[in-house]
Symmetry: C2
Subunit: 368 residues, 2 copies
DNA sequence: CCAATTGCCGAAACCGGTTTCGGAAATGAG
DNA sequence: CTCATTTCCGAAACCGGTTTCGGCAATTGG
């Protein structure tokens, strides 16, 4: 009679599960002793602790995280809010990123709660919900902005988080990041070493913090190579192939066009291929290009795109490990790591066949 | 003194949260009455139920799912185990798929628990863990196989699930699926209508259930167009661009090559572009192609790939809705839906410029 | 040798919900 | 008007854990 509207066959405790009560009974101990033994309280003798551990092992006892959560407030879940349509470059990485997080999380018995959002404001709202409903104990923040509303929220609410990327104000922030600036610097040095004198730079989205750093790396490279900085050769806001094509055309129609271009984003670099194809230029010979990300598509163009590749899976894994440490109480200052991107030299960068002047002349005749 | 090893500042009930006890006190009712009122029990008067609803609304009461779960066994979370490295085609869809699921789930106050696996066996193990730890109340199964170990597990454990795709044995299965067979049939009819007489088919992975259906659709198209079936024109196992290039070359070097090719998978179809480029053939003129999936990359080749596009986001959304209904007790037989893929005619399929014989002859001269 | 600690564990309260059970009041039948 | 049903709600048990509190035994200090 007294029955919920939506009734399934559920509701009763499942038979197989061994609870802490069953375990304590089997061991002849009280629930509280078992609980404290397993959670590392100091007022349990080493002998008992060991006995409890072994008993739990053999009986296959696994505490239900949501039963623990009711008292502790922690559900042993990491949170990730993915911003959709943010920019296309994010997508190919997602599966690998998730794989890395998932592997690190499950190694510690944690899980991953994923939500999506279609704007930064929406992301903040979504995270707020997840925190409110205690669906995650902390968050991984991909694509950190220079001034990030998500960081502000989490700081205010005192929710643990780890950024994939660094930020302007490091106060209370933990992070893992790739050294994009070093990659850009090395790209310039590599091209300069091949003999290029006019090396352009096409940056990604300006709001992202990485853009600032990569531009800085490009400049550092020029300086170390003893090359002058030409503002006409620095462009930005290129996130996808169409953007890349546009920026390439703008660069090549300059009075003194570059003979090599460094891109901050692979997908934009792929646009250079299309621009060159339209102009009858050979990539890697007439125009050289080096980029950053290591997207799979880059291997399928001709010549394959030379790029600093990021191990997204490893990044996800490390981020999850850092976040778990953070949730367990480690100070954010001790949880800051960076890694280098590996240069995959695949042939899109070679010695300049034409000088800037010759290139300019050839383009003038080609387009008329 | 008595303190856990890893102590953060957490542990106490957060101040802002309004519990069911607080709500019931404010209403002058008992906890049990409030609980039953909100959960639709019939032994609560309509007047009281309304009063409770309003009170909950104004006080901002939101039950903690994990507190409910301790008794009900349900955590209001959907589960998704993504198979990594399964095949590349899956990746670009992932973000949209997640977005769809996420949106439908959060509309009902549910969340999404994601894990990854690198094989089917691993996926089964992972799902078992999630069920065991009650991290998900049910699962969405992407990429259904004809004989799926995941289905066997979930059936045995009586865990609700919904498939993205159909399966050989529909017993107890709910699903949402795209009518790939109709798309393949229509592709053949479209090409036949343009004048093509020799139309090849390159299928995807044979283990997937969709492959069986799409092949069937191709055959149906031939039959309806009154064209003979030539086994030499039917190939399979092409999942990525390299596969597609290989299969295209195999087809074009036949004594009687096809003038048009239908692909079951966009990424494989992109391989045809590379094969044609190598052979000096113009896609859409010398060789026509129609494919299936609607991946973004298809829009960036020349001419853009004509493809039956799948609205992955909508699929994810519908799947989540179906799964929630299933978890709430709806019979699986009532939760089976299909949708058509929309044909995006972008120019890679045109009337045959060369006959099969002429094409063969031209290829013979080109390669020597 | 006695008092004060210390080490170790059990009893019980608690977390925030759900569900069972029983009883008072209202309703209907005779 | 009485008695049997309903209708509707409260008290209390319960879910599976964690944490507080207190007590007994063994140790230490003087």
């Amino acid at each position: 009679m007294t029955k919920a509207i939506h009734d399934h066959e559920e509701g009763r405790a499942q038979p197989g599960r061994v609870t802490i009560t069953a375990l304590s009974a089997a061991l002849g101990l009280s629930k509280s002793t078992v609980s404290r033994a397993l959670n590392g309280y100091p007022d349990i003798s080493e002998r008992t602790r060991l006995r409890v551990r072994r008993g739990a092992e053999t009986m296959g006892y696994r505490p239900l995280s949501h039963a623990q959560a009711i008292r502790t407030g922690r559900v042993r879940a990491l949170g990730l809010v993915v911003q959709i349509g943010d920019h296309d470059a994010q997508r190919p990485f997602l599966a690998d990123f998730l794989a890395g997080i998932s592997v690190a999380a499950s190694a510690e018995g944690w899980t991953l709660t994923v939500a999506t959002a279609d704007s930064e404001a929406d992301a903040v709202r979504t995270m707020e919900q997840l925190v409110e409903d205690r669906k995650a104990d902390g968050f991984i923040l991909p694509r950190t902005l220079s001034h990030d509303a998500r960081v502000a929220l989490l700081r205010a609410r005192d929710v643990p988080f780890v950024m994939f990327g660094r930020t302007a104000d490091p106060e209370g922030c933990a992070w893992f990041d790739m050294l994009g600036e070093e990659a850009m610097r090395d790209a310039v040095l590599h091209l300069a070493g091949l003999g290029h004198r006019r090396i352009a730079f096409v940056n990604g989205g300006t709001a992202y913090n990485y853009s600032r750093l990569r531009l800085q790396g490009y400049r550092e490279g020029l300086a170390q190579a003893g090359l002058p900085e030409d503002l006409a050769l620095i462009r930005g806001g290129a996130l996808n192939t169409a953007d890349g094509t546009r920026e390439t055309l703008a660069l090549l129609t300059l009075a003194e066009p570059p003979t090599a271009v460094v891109f901050a984003v692979d997908h934009a670099a792929l646009g250079l291929y299309r621009a060159c194809a339209g102009l009858g230029l050979a990539v890697g010979r007439d125009v050289s290009v080096i980029s950053y990300d290591g997207v799979p598509d880059g291997a399928h163009v001709e010549p394959p795109l030379s790029s600093f590749t990021v191990d997204t899976r490893a990044a996800g894994q490390r981020l999850a490990e850092l976040l778990i440490a953070r949730i367990r109480g480690a100070a954010p200052e001790t949880l800051r790591e960076t890694a280098r991107a590996a240069f995959a030299d695949r042939g899109s960068a070679g010695p300049p066949r034409l000088s800037s002047e010759a290139l300019s002349k050839r383009l003038a005749t080609a387009t008329t």
